[in-house]
């Protein structure tokens, strides 16, 4: 059903009541507390996990870099630069199969130096030239934070999109609470918004209907959502408000990254500050940590998680994050570490248990009546089977794709059919894979088909 419901509140804000999606009843949300993390000994940049980028390294092991030195550029557009999040010596560059650059690890100096960027053009409060902003953001390493729907690649600068969406949401378990990372940072946020306004025809600021920040200008938030995960996704917003196919190529930026933009245009330095959430049922201190980009995972979890051996460390949320290890680092886009049990313990006659504590979308477990947050683990809870057309995936899909039909056309290599099903609208939330009775990774099919389609097009 393409349900669209707008309520225009006081004439300046749209409330979207997102009917679909699903909030997993999971234990482990981070408390709205902010603690400062000690300075790490080293930080890293992870080119591998930035989608589509073809990195060309400009540094080598042993080189000295400052905060803001260029580490690599994107071969597809050499103006897009990726800057060093630390000052010190490049300790190691690790490669994966086929020479994929996995990590660029920088051992930090005790006194860090910055590369200065020229921001004089932006000192006055006036309307700025779009080209100037893009140029400065590219040189300042901020451009990769702006991404383009539907493929979620780094935005292509020569395109003027219908909208740039600033997303302020934490629907995915577990993401940092915007009330925490925006606290006392509203000046930077407003500065960032003031700059970003010039990039697109419209600037949408998309927040929860419950999000309140008393310092923020009233009219800053343009769209609000109520509903389940992934209601806060920019793709879900565009799916519900677009009127024309030309709006499909919208841009978006995470609320926390707007702070970086604001900071850059205030100080002329490459900003590295990050607020990271540490959460999940196996984290015994669930807090927000004030730290920096590329922080080692071990620094975040040390002394804060219960049992490291039984735990899966996820950089990012439980639906979209990637599996990390103690030795790894947080990527450019990740702002949380979720620690949940690895699971996979076998259980006698598990399929017949009442399941008061087993989280499920279906109504076949007594957990349906359990009001308390439950412990979810990484077990598959079953083996893969053929699709029986139960339709659970279509009930949760936030952008009204019919995953059970779309994935079949993908498997049959009928991409035209998959496209007409709205394959490109997929927000890659992972809910269809989550609810699947037959344990089919529907989201994986859609995501992979999207990526291949994009690479073919390019």
């Amino acid at each position: 059903m393409l349900t669209k419901k707008y309520t225009d509140i006081r004439g300046y804000m749209l409330l979207l009541d997102i009917k679909k999606g699903f909030d997993i009843n999971i234990e482990g949300s981070p408390l709205p507390e902010l603690a400062k993390l000690k300075e790490p000994a080293s930080v890293a940049f992870l080119p591998e996990i930035i989608p589509y980028v073809k990195p060309k390294l400009l540094v080598a092991q042993g080189d000295r870099v400052r905060i803001g030195s260029t580490l690599f550029i994107d071969k597809r557009n050499p103006d897009i630069k990726f800057l060093s999040p630390g000052c010190g010596k490049i300790e190691k560059i690790t490669f994966g199969p086929r020479r994929v650059i996995k990590e660029i690890i920088i051992k930090l100096d005790s006194n860090e130096e910055y590369v200065g960027f020229d921001i004089n053009k932006f000192s006055e409060n006036k309307k700025f030239n779009r080209e100037d902003i893009i140029q400065s953001m590219m040189n300042g390493g901020l451009w990769p934070f702006i991404r383009e729907l539907p493929f979620r690649d780094i935005a292509s600068p020569d395109f003027i999109p219908h909208a740039l969406i600033v997303t302020i949401g934490n629907k995915e378990p577990f993401q940092p609470d915007p009330r925490v990372y925006l606290k006392e940072e509203i000046d930077l946020f407003e500065k960032g918004v003031f700059i970003l306004k010039n990039l697109a025809k419209n600037l949408y600021i998309y927040a929860s209907k419950d999000f309140i920040n008393l310092d923020m200008k009233n009219k800053l938030v343009t769209h609000r959502y109520s509903g389940s995960y992934p209601a806060d996704d920019p793709g879900v917003l565009m799916h519900h408000i677009r009127k024309d196919p030309s709006e499909n190529r919208a841009w978006y930026i995470n609320g926390q990254d707007v702070l970086l933009v604001g900071s850059f245009f205030s100080t002329g330095r490459y900003p590295v500050k990050r607020t990271v959430a540490l959460a999940g049922s196996l984290a015994n201190k669930r807090v927000h940590l004030k730290t920096r980009i590329g922080v080692p995972v071990n620094d975040l979890i040390e002394g804060r998680i219960a049992d490291g051996n039984m735990a899966r460390l996820i950089a990012g949320g439980i639906f979209r994050g990637y599996a990390a290890s103690k030795e790894s680092f947080l990527g450019l886009y990740e702002t949380s570490v979720s620690v949940i049990p690895e699971g996979g313990k076998s259980e006698l006659f598990g399929f017949l248990r009442a399941g008061y504590e087993k989280p499920s979308y279906s109504k076949t477990f007594l957990s349906y009546f359990n009001p308390f947050p439950l412990q979810a683990d990484c077990g598959m809870h079953g083996e893969e089977r053929a699709c029986v057309n139960c339709g659970a995936c279509a009930q949760v899909c936030p952008v009204d794709i019919l995953p059970q039909f779309a994935f079949k056309s993908i498997v049959a290599a009928d991409i035209e059919e998959a496209l007409s099903h709205g394959m490109l609208d997929c927000v890659e939330c992972g809910l269809c894979s989550y609810v699947c009775t037959s344990k089919i990774d529907l989201c994986g099919f859609l995501k992979k088909a999207k990526q291949e389609y994009y690479k073919d097009k390019a």
């Binding site: 499909n248 990637y322 076949t364 077990g379 809870h381 079953g382 709205g422």
Partner: protein
């Protein structure tokens, strides 16, 4: 203790079934057996890192659970009817144990022959055995008359599993409901054992005893005796089949179909847990009632007795309650789209009544109605998907 011992037994014997083991070809059976006892130890490799607690085994087990009351009642009723015409004790245990003797062999044959085919195809195709057969294997004997010979039951389930399902690629890819396909095959191949008045009750022959044939007829068959001016309700009541008796199910018929009451209980359980679509079941009931009332309205002086039958009788007679609750709601052979599920259910209801009314030789309409609509479900899906995609703003 038991848990560890069993787990160890599986772990120790796994090697015989793996790539180089002697019993390699039986690996799907080993996996199915292990999965029956223990939940999967697999964990997610990548995003999304968490998966729902439900799996197909639980999904299908819920259908089996919903069937159990009907199943046990069917056993009791088969024994009760048999003892009744044979002049034996009608006590609960006497009837139930007689029923077990009649029904259990059918169920065992259905499961064992069906599993044989499942394992054969799984071994050749090198995929796992799907839990869908847990349901098919129980549904099939419940649709049969208690007197059916075991070899026919074996043949029927073979046809249902192989022609109804496996040649299309197995569970999830079949067009028709496999259990009904098997039943339809027997119905047309061996009509003498599937229709008539003598097949519904197992008679334990005693010397010099005559059996009243009519007492062995199903209510649906009895209605054929009704003349144009007779009321079927009155005729049934004369034979002892009041509405309440038809509703509760103490009368001759296929093993599982007689008790509308317990079918409703199962249907409610399936609808509440979301395993079966309430749209199909309610659509079917609406289809039956509206067609019944429509026929009531056009019924004239000279029209057949069926026209003026109270539509609620259609719900409780024959296999409709069983079919719409457990057969029509099979998600694989039903449409996947939510709106056309109403159409699908409704059409099954309409067709059931039409077949009963306009083709009295063909007393049971629901089997043909469901199979017929199974064939139409891809088309129904196609239409709804096309309409839905038309509204979508393209993104290419």
């Amino acid at each position: 203790m038991f848990f560890e011992k069993l787990k160890k037994a599986f772990d120790n014997n796994r090697k015989h079934f793996r790539d180089s083991g002697k019993l390699k070809s039986m690996y799907p059976l080993f996996v199915a057996l292990e999965a029956f006892f223990f939940t999967s130890e697999n964990v997610t490799k990548d995003q999304p890192h968490v998966r729902d607690s439900i799996d197909l085994k639980r999904f299908m087990s819920f259908v089996v659970i919903a069937l159990l009351p009907t199943f046990f009642f069917g056993i009791y009723n088969a024994g009760f009817q048999s003892n009744l015409v044979s002049g034996l004790s009608l006590g609960f245990w006497a009837a139930f144990s007689k029923g077990l003797i009649i029904v259990l062999p059918l169920v065992l044959v259905s499961y064992s022959v069906g599993f044989f085919w499942e394992i054969l195809f799984a071994s050749i195709r090198k995929h796992n055995i799907s839990e869908g057969f847990l349901v098919t294997g129980l549904l099939f004997p419940m649709t049969l008359p208690p007197t059916v010979p075991l070899w026919q039951a074996a043949l029927g389930i073979s046809f249902g599993v192989v022609i109804g399902k496996e040649i299309f690629g197995g569970t999830g890819r079949n067009l028709l409901n496999p259990a009904l396909t098997g039943r339809a095959f027997l119905f047309f191949a061996y009509p003498a054992k599937m229709t008539g008045n003598s097949v519904w009750t197992v008679v334990s022959k005693l010397k010099d005893q005559t059996v009243d044939i009519v007492s062995g007829a199903t209510p649906l068959a009895l209605t054929a005796l009704a003349g144009t001016n007779e009321k079927i309700e009155v005729l049934l009541a004369q034979k002892g089949y009041g509405f309440f008796r038809l509703f509760t199910g103490i009368y001759p018929g296929s093993i599982g179909e007689t008790s509308a009451m317990l079918c409703i209980a199962g249907a409610v359980f399936l609808m509440v847990t979301g395993v079966a679509s309430y749209r199909i079941i309610l659509g079917g009931v609406i289809g039956v009632l509206s067609t019944g009332y429509l026929l009531n309205m056009v019924a004239g002086e000279s029209s057949a007795a069926w026209f003026s039958l109270n539509p609620f009788y259609h719900l409780v007679m024959g296999g409709f309650a069983f079919g719409i609750s457990f057969m029509a709601t099979d998600p694989v052979s039903a449409p996947g789209m939510e709106n056309v599920k109403w159409v699908y259910g409704f059409a099954i209801g309409v067709l059931t009544v039409l077949i009963r009314v306009f083709n009295p030789a063909f007393a049971e309409g629901v089997m043909m109605a469901i199979l017929f609509m199974n064939l139409f479900s891809p088309l129904l899906d196609y239409v709804e998907i096309k309409l839905r995609l038309k509204k979508r703003i393209p993104n290419v």
